[in-house]
């Protein structure tokens, strides 16, 4: 596994723990279909949150959130619809969130959760 994928996995685990500590329950991790992938699907009350996680070790190439472009958001929106189709039993309002994980090599990671970015 390449180093960047390793980092991405680690970031997703950190994001999942972070959200679970704040009362969210994991429904699915890395859901894929032929249009793309949703990093995390979490439930918080009657809301289903589709979470895009971005991980960086430094801000030398910009903050992780800057990598979430309008194109990527539009795809998330589409994937959320497809996920709902595939899971007719899950009910609730849908919401698209973003989580930035800044994980420097020798420091504790910092996590930033943005609610309803689309």
């Amino acid at each position: 596994m390449a180093a960047k994928d390793e980092l991405g996995r680690r970031g997703e685990r950190l994001a999942e723990q972070y959200l679970e500590a704040r009362g969210y329950r994991l429904i699915e991790r890395n859901w894929r279909c032929r249009h793309g992938e949703i990093d995390l699907v979490m439930r918080g009350g009657d809301v289903i949150a589709f979470v895009e996680v971005k991980t960086r070790t430094s801000t030398a190439f910009g903050h992780p959130l800057e990598a979430i472009t309008p194109v990527k958001l539009a795809r998330m929106r589409r994937l959320a619809g497809l996920w709902r189709e595939a899971h007719p039993d899950e009910r609730g309002r849908i919401r698209i969130d973003a989580v930035a994980v800044l994980a420097p090599r020798d420091h504790a990671p910092s996590i930033d959760h943005l609610v309803g970015v689309f």
């Binding site: 903050h63 959130l65 800057e66 958001l73 973003a98 943005l114 970015v117």
Partner: protein
């Protein structure tokens, strides 16, 4: 996180409106939004501000940044809002003192390295800030001299965004940078030549003094080589110095037109001599986004000299009719309406025909009668109607040249002293009246309180009866006569002044 406020000025013509810049930084995906009718140059402020803040040891806010320029409906142009936007943003982040930023007006364009670039129109912007009740303004180092011309304004010159942030209480170390300066202003006014250079043309020398003393528009008609251009170019030299208000207006227009302003206000009346290929937009001003002053506005409080007047496009000439009447140029565009001061003195020069030889002794005119008629016909009646002095300038003959060697010459200094004296007399007489120069005297006054000595208008009345003079022409002669009376030091124009005034309109008939 929060809202920061700063102030700047949007210009519309010479009038500035205060603009409040609000910056909001909120959580969200990184975005930089600028709203409030920016033009392209202002919209690009986003890129400049982002780089300048980054290069001043600040972190650009990671969240969603919204800049609002209010009032939202007022179109805003140019790059002079950069400094205000950057500081409002830093205030929103709490990196500088928000109260300090909100209390002063910020003007200036930012370079990517955070240095301040000089902008156009800083002088009228500072004037507007002063009128809006602000007493402190931050300007680029390159515009500091210009901004300091506004009396009673505290001008803080900053070379970089870093300097400005430190002034507002940011904890940064001072870093000396080389300030960006505008092209230096010329040290001396261009040499205009002395009236003593004009040889032989006694009438013309007298006519320019009358024009200068009374503020009359002038039309010089004569063959090539008669010295029309030479005479017209000497008119600014014999006009009195500008008063403070006029000087401020002249300097403001120069600032707006991008002409260097220098360290002191312009004290001499400007001379604008556009080429005859000028369009009407070049003459009165225009532009679709930014409305810029044209030659007529740049000539305000001075001389607009149109050499070879019939060669100008008729639309360009006729666009001068409105400013000649009202003293103000109003330019309307989709986005806004701007007005500029335009109380200039018009000097037209023309040849009598395309070949230039019509009416010259010992020379043959090769133009057809039709061509000759059409040539001067290009100067429209309504335009010429507004020109008081219409003078024939003949070629100087050998005999006149010999005589001129013996006759006393009039220097510009002597002429200016005479003009100043006449203007002082005019001012004393018109102390209570709304107009300040004889050229602006209304017709009703000329025929009631301002009527000449009884019985002195006989020649004038005859010309009117003959139809050689219109009623408007009649009034114009009386106005010139008043200026002659002021030059001569008599209380009221008499037979002599009216006779000479008629002579100064002879090219019209």
């Amino acid at each position: 996180m929060g809202v920061g406020r700063a102030h700047s000025v949007a210009l519309l013509g010479l009038d500035g409106a205060l603009v409040e810049i609000e910056a909001d930084t909120a959580r969200g995906l990184p975005a930089f939004v600028l709203v409030g009718l920016p033009d392209t140059a202002l919209g690009e402020a986003k890129a400049r501000v982002r780089s300048a803040i980054g290069n001043t040891e600040f972190d650009f806010p990671a969240g969603r940044v919204t800049i609002n320029l209010s009032p939202a409906s007022l179109p805003k142009t140019g790059a002079a809002f950069d400094l205000g936007i950057a500081l409002a943003l830093l205030a929103a982040e709490g990196l500088v003192d928000p109260a300090s930023v909100a209390g002063v007006v910020h003007l200036g364009e930012l370079g990517l390295d955070g240095r301040m670039r000089p902008s156009r129109g800083v002088l009228p912007m500072v004037l507007a800030a002063e009128r809006a009740g602000f007493d402190t303004v931050l300007v680029p180092a390159g515009n500091a001299d210009e901004a300091a011309l506004v009396p009673g304004m505290r001008v803080v010159s900053v070379a970089s965004l870093r300097d400005a942030a430190i002034w507002h209480g940011a904890e940064l170390e001072h870093l000396e940078v080389e300030p960006l300066l505008p092209a230096p202003a010329p040290d001396a006014e261009p040499e205009l030549g002395d009236l003593a250079d004009v040889v032989g043309n006694r009438d013309a020398v007298e006519a320019v003094q009358v024009a200068a003393a009374g503020g009359h528009h002038m039309f010089l008609l004569g063959p090539p080589g008669a010295g029309k251009t030479m005479i017209a170019a000497r008119l600014p030299g014999i006009l009195p110095d500008l008063d403070e208000r006029a000087a401020l207006e002249v300097s403001s227009i120069r600032s707006l037109a991008g002409i260097p302003v220098g360290r002191s206000l312009a004290t001499r009346p400007p001379l604008e001599a556009p080429h005859h290929s000028a369009s009407s937009a070049a003459i009165v001003g225009g532009g679709s986004g930014v409305i810029r002053p044209g030659a007529a506005a740049r000539a305000a409080h001075g001389i607009l000299f149109l050499d070879e007047a019939p060669e100008f496009a008729p639309t360009a000439l006729d666009s001068l009719r409105q400013p000649l009447e009202s003293g103000v140029i109003t330019i309307s565009r989709v986005s806004a309406t701007a007005s500029f001061p335009a109380r200039f003195q018009l000097v037209l020069a023309a040849n009598p025909c395309p070949c230039g030889n019509a009416g010259v002794r010992d020379a043959e005119c090769t133009c057809t009668p039709f061509a000759r008629r059409r040539y001067l016909g290009r100067l429209s009646g309504p335009l010429l109607d507004r020109v008081d002095i219409q003078l024939d300038v003949p070629r100087v003959t050998a005999a006149q040249l010999r005589m001129a060697a013996e006759a006393p010459v009039t220097t510009s200094d002597a002429a200016r002293a005479r003009v100043l004296e006449a203007r002082a007399r005019t001012a004393a007489r018109l102390a209570g009246a709304p107009w300040r120069l004889n050229a602006h005297a209304p017709g009703t006054w000329l025929r009631t309180d301002g009527a000449p000595h009884p019985g002195s208008t006989a020649s004038l009345d005859r010309a009117l009866e003959r139809g050689a003079l219109t009623m408007r022409g009649y009034d114009r002669v009386l106005r010139i006569a008043w200026t002659l009376a002021d030059l001569d030091g008599v209380d009221r124009p008499g037979l002599e002044q009216i006779g000479r005034a008629l002579y100064l309109r002879k090219a019209a008939t």
